[in-house]
């Protein structure tokens, strides 16, 4: 945990350092605000990093005004589930890119319910059809959101 926090702090320092370095080459008007922000940010992050290195960072202290992740699940299982859900999220985006939203919605709902949640065939099909119907009615017929065609449709000239 401490190691991860340390690397996260390094990551933020890298961003702040990059921002400071990139901004120095700009005109006064353009760089005024980014530098006014990035320099104090870099300073605070370095202080935070030094506190961590010096062991003065209080471990286990969660942020006030923010949620805590559940700790009831064993770390190994939790890690596996985190990777699993990230996989589904990335898969959803890849599907949207390849097939477009209108096809991805029923396909994703069907696959998730069947493969991840192990729901019975009938319920899965019923939920998929209802979701697709709601999606079509609400976002396409009523709100008229223009969904881009997927890459596959474009390649096929559809």
């Amino acid at each position: 945990m401490r190691k991860g926090n340390f690397f996260f702090c390094i990551f933020l320092i890298a961003i702040a350092a990059y921002a400071t370095f990139a901004a120095t080459g700009w005109s006064f008007k353009t760089k005024l605000f980014p530098l006014a922000v990035s320099i104090p940010l870099l300073t605070l992050l370095v202080i935070q990093l030094l506190l961590m290195i010096g062991g003065k960072e209080q471990t286990g202290e969660s942020a006030v005004m923010d949620i805590d992740f559940s700790i009831e699940v064993p770390p190994e299982v939790a890690r596996r589930r985190v990777f699993g859900i990230f996989g589904w999220i990335v898969g959803f985006i890849v599907l949207v890119y390849l097939l477009g939203f209108p096809l991805t919605v029923p396909l994703f709902i069907f696959l998730y319910l069947k493969l991840q949640s192990n729901i019975g065939w009938l319920t899965t099909v019923a939920i998929t059809v209802v979701t697709w119907g709601c999606f079509y009615l609400l976002f396409q017929s009523l709100v008229h959101i223009q969904f881009e065609a997927g890459a596959i449709q474009s390649w096929l000239g559809m």
């Binding site: 945990m1 991860g4 926090n5 996260f8 933020l12 961003i15 990139a22 901004a23 700009w26 005109s27 008007k29 353009t30 005024l32 605000f33 980014p34 006014a36 922000v37 990035s38 104090p40 940010l41 992050l45 202080i47 935070q48 003065k56 960072e57 209080q58 202290e61 942020a63 006030v64 005004m65 923010d66 949620i67 805590d68 992740f69 559940s70 699940v73 299982v77 589930r81 985190v82 859900i85 990230f86 589904w88 999220i89 959803f92 985006i93 949207v96 890119y97 939203f101 994703f108 709902i109 319910l113 991840q116 949640s117 729901i119 939920i127 979701t131 999606f135 609400l138 709100v143 881009e148």
Partner: protein, 503 residues
């Protein structure tokens, strides 16, 4: 004056205006529930439909829709941890943990009742303030608004940790949010900043994909990890009594709700600040109401005051935003700018005439805000216990739908796949922020306020050089900012001094 007040009510209660208000409210209800489809965008979509309406009908329709969207946005925030509207993001911080504790009904009851009180206070403020607010708005130039925005960020960052070291992370996150807001074209010179050679970044990052990613993705991950329903394996609360408990909470903390409503009105009056700021300032004030650091540590973990404050401010700011829009034709937000175009379509010029010739129309807006919110809250309270049951549906069934809402919502920002990638990137960032205890609220407020702050800073520097730093109101606001930052330390010291005495 009183005659105009009653005439305003009669205008709203005419069958056509009232029916159109109900149609607007139904639209606003759906828009509020769906993440990403903002109230402002829907206002813009509905503008073409008002051409054949009378002014009173048009404003009943538009304002009915707009005011309700802010109220129902809280429902999605509490139930799924996905902000229904960008302006209801602060409700997620304590509302969703309450849902996880099996108290969704209570959180929803509190959110809706505080929204109603906030809306009524906003409407009263609109009715009372129009004649007297002019000097206040004219006194606040860019330097004062710049300082006011800084106070907003200071409020939230100074309360981000129970210790000094915890606050370093808070301030760092606030600055990080400000830095992210500088991505894209610089408004004054048009120069590109941090665009990484991508045209998508030229306009900067849109609020919706970032906010949805920041708040929704970690909640979805947590839900997937737990493998239970949102409310976990807890026995179902008595949902309807939970809703009533939330309603009672609103009156138990009435003065907090009142103060947060006033904050909402005040922020609403200030051009450019908007609901994104009002909710967080109100949230910070709610956190400040904690008597000691231990109690403050409960915020973010399901403290009812964290739901009441933003709920009240979100809706009271509607009345506040209408004040400069109606009285001077200066819109306080994007939604008000669209509403202003509605005024012009109706052939009405906002300004002094709204206080003389069109006074009854001005009061009809006050009545619309009040009536629309009363009806929405009564209807919502009737169905809340059913909605709260969603938190007991097993996670495996509900996750794909939340993901769908999240990504369709973020896609509506620009209609590009890149919006989804932005949501994912900020979702991952947010996951690590929560995992390692870096607070998200300061980041979000910094991001929301960044462009506004930069514009005010630029105008102040161009117009006054460094002399704006000596303006009396700026100096007063600087002192206030120091007090705001020092307040948690003072509170901690006082508590420490008190503890040995009690021991």
């Amino acid at each position: 004056m009183f005659d105009a007040f009653i005439e305003g009510l009669i205008l709203v209660l005419q069958w056509k205006a009232f029916s159109l208000m109900l149609v607007g409210m139904a639209l606003g209800f759906c828009v509020g529930l769906l993440p990403g489809i903002g109230g402002a965008a829907t206002l813009a979509l509905m503008i073409p439909f008002i051409f054949k309406m009378s002014p009173a009908e048009a404003f009943a329709f538009l304002l009915g829709m707009h005011s309700v969207a802010a109220t129902t946005g809280d429902i999605t925030s509490v139930l799924f941890g996905v902000p229904g509207e960008a302006i209801s993001a602060a409700t997620v911080v304590d509302g969703y943990p309450m849902a996880k504790k099996g108290e969704a009904g209570r959180a929803l009851g509190a959110a809706l009742m505080s929204s109603l009180l906030g809306a009524l206070i906003g409407a009263v403020a609109l009715a009372l303030a129009v004649p007297i607010v002019r000097p206040l708005v004219l006194t606040f130039g860019s330097p004062e608004l710049f300082m006011l925005s800084l106070i907003g960020i200071s409020c939230i960052t100074s309360l981000s940790g129970t210790t000094t070291r915890g606050q370093i992370k808070g301030f760092a996150m606030g600055l990080f949010g400000l830095l992210i807001s500088t991505i894209g074209q610089e408004r004054q010179s048009g120069s590109l900043r941090f665009d990484l050679g991508m045209m998508y970044l030229w306009d900067g990052l849109d609020f919706v994909p970032v906010l949805v990613g920041i708040f929704a993705i970690p909640e979805i991950i947590d839900l997937a990890v737990r493998g239970t329903s949102i409310a976990g394996d807890r026995p179902p609360e008595n949902l309807s009594s939970g809703v009533m408990e939330g309603v009672k909470d609103t009156f138990r903390h009435f003065w907090l709700v009142f103060r947060c409503s006033i904050i909402g009105v005040f922020v609403g009056i200030m051009p450019g600040a908007g609901g994104g700021v009002a909710q967080w300032m109100a949230y910070a004030h709610a956190v400040q109401s904690a008597t000691d650091s231990k109690e403050r540590g409960g915020f973010g973990k399901g403290d009812i005051r964290g739901v009441l404050g933003p709920g009240a401010a979100n809706n009271s700011k509607e009345g506040g935003e209408l004040i400069p829009t109606v009285a001077f034709g200066v819109p306080g937000s994007g939604a008000m700018a669209i509403l202003l175009s509605g005024f012009l379509i109706m052939g009405i010029m906002p300004g002094p005439e709204m206080l003389t010739k069109h006074l009854s129309l001005t009061f009809s807006m006050v009545w619309t805000l009040a009536i629309a919110n009363v009806i929405t809250v009564i209807l919502s309270l009737a169905i809340l216990d059913q909605l709260a049951k969603l938190t007991y549906v097993r996670g495996g069934l509900i996750i794909p739908f939340i993901l769908l809402l999240v990504f369709v919502g973020s896609y509506t920002a620009n209609g590009q796949i890149a919006d989804l990638i932005v949501t994912l990137i900020f979702g991952v960032l947010s996951y690590f922020m929560v995992l390692f205890g870096w607070p998200r609220p300061p980041f979000v407020l910094g991001f929301v306020l960044g462009k506004v702050i930069e514009t005010y800073l630029f105008i102040s520097m161009t117009r006054y050089g460094f002399s704006w730093l000596t303006h009396p109101i700026v100096l007063a606001l600087m002192i206030l900012m120091v007090v705001v930052i020092a307040y948690p330390y003072i509170q901690q010291r006082r508590q420490r001094a008190r503890e040995p005495a009690h021991a």
